[in-house]
Amino acid sequence: MADQDASVKVHVDPVRRAAPEEALRPAVDIYQEPDGTTVLLAEVPGATSERVDVRVEKGVLSLWAASELADPGPSYAPTYRGFTGGEYFRAFALSDEVDRERIEASLTDGVLRIRLPRAAAARTRKIEITPG
């Protein structure tokens, strides 16, 4: 069963989570779709949608997520450890061209997808010259 595309609420308010110390830095892809929408993909494996926080404040987009790996108990001895759970944090400066009110985030298969639509004002607009 593929993970449901869970919607993540985007906060546009001044309360910002401080960057946790020793936070993991999620790998990201940032690209622009043909219609000008910027998409940010961040890998936050192990995080559920309740444990993801996306915020926009003063032109800074910050993302936080926490992953908890299932702990099978003390009777299991770690033979090899290649990754751990923990907190993910990363922040990005937003371009003025992004419409802050229409930012959407969703989480699928451990990848956080943030859509940053272009503001109407940033689209190319032809200005008619009025005869004067």
């Binding site: 069963m1 593929a2 993970d3 993991l24 830095r25 790998a27 990201v28 892809d29 940032i30 690209y31 622009q32 779709e33 043909p34 910027t38 998409v39 993909l41 890998e43 936050v44 494996p45 192990g46 995080a47 559920t48 992953s67 790996l69 299932a70 099978p72 108990g73 009777s75 299991y76 001895a77 770690p78 033979t79 090899y80 450890r81 290649g82 990754f83 751990t84 923990g86 989480l107 298969d109 451990g110 990848v111």
Partner: protein, 146 residues
């Protein structure tokens, strides 16, 4: 250059890698170019050994369940899969690309013999969990002294 990081900062030259990436960006070399996933280090795994079973956790964020393939022999587990790009690469203008794409495979040598028929695997939120019950012969046994 592999862009997969080891969470927890185990990569001793991570700083250099970032620097290299920024240089590559500056000279426009790797921009938008698909990068192959380094098979030797991806995906990261945890192996935990219990009394009854071996538990393998595998970080496969962004890999769909249909694109994952597990092969078990008595003593090894091979995780194979494909990490697909988010869309038509020709249409997307990348500004930053740290996540890898492509085929990957990793073989894990298990610490004990297991019963492959009773193995179970599930994937949720980008973490694959494989439960491998230990073979009868690998379990601790008491031997009575007669």
């Amino acid at each position: 250059m592999a862009t997969f990081r080891f969470p927890g900062g185990l990569d001793p030259i991570l700083g250099l890698r970032y620097m290299q990436r920024e240089f590559e960006r500056m000279f426009g070399r790797s921009e938008g170019a698909a990068e192959a996933v380094a098979a030797a280090e991806y995906p990261p795994v945890n192996v935990l050994s219990g009394e009854e079973e071996i538990l393998v956790q595998c970080e496969v964020a962004g890999v769909a369940r249909e694109d994952l393939d597990l092969t078990i022999t008595g003593e090894t587990l091979t995780v194979r899969g494909t990490k697909r790009p988010p869309g038509d690469e020709e249409q997307l203008r990348y500004q930053r690309r740290e996540r890898g794409v492509g085929d990957f495979a990793r073989t894990i040598v298990l610490p004990d013999r297991i019963d492959a028929d009773r193995a179970e695997a599930k994937v949720s939120d980008g973490v694959l969990t494989v439960r491998l019950p230990k073979a009868e012969s690998a379990r601790p046994r008491q031997i009575r002294v007669s």
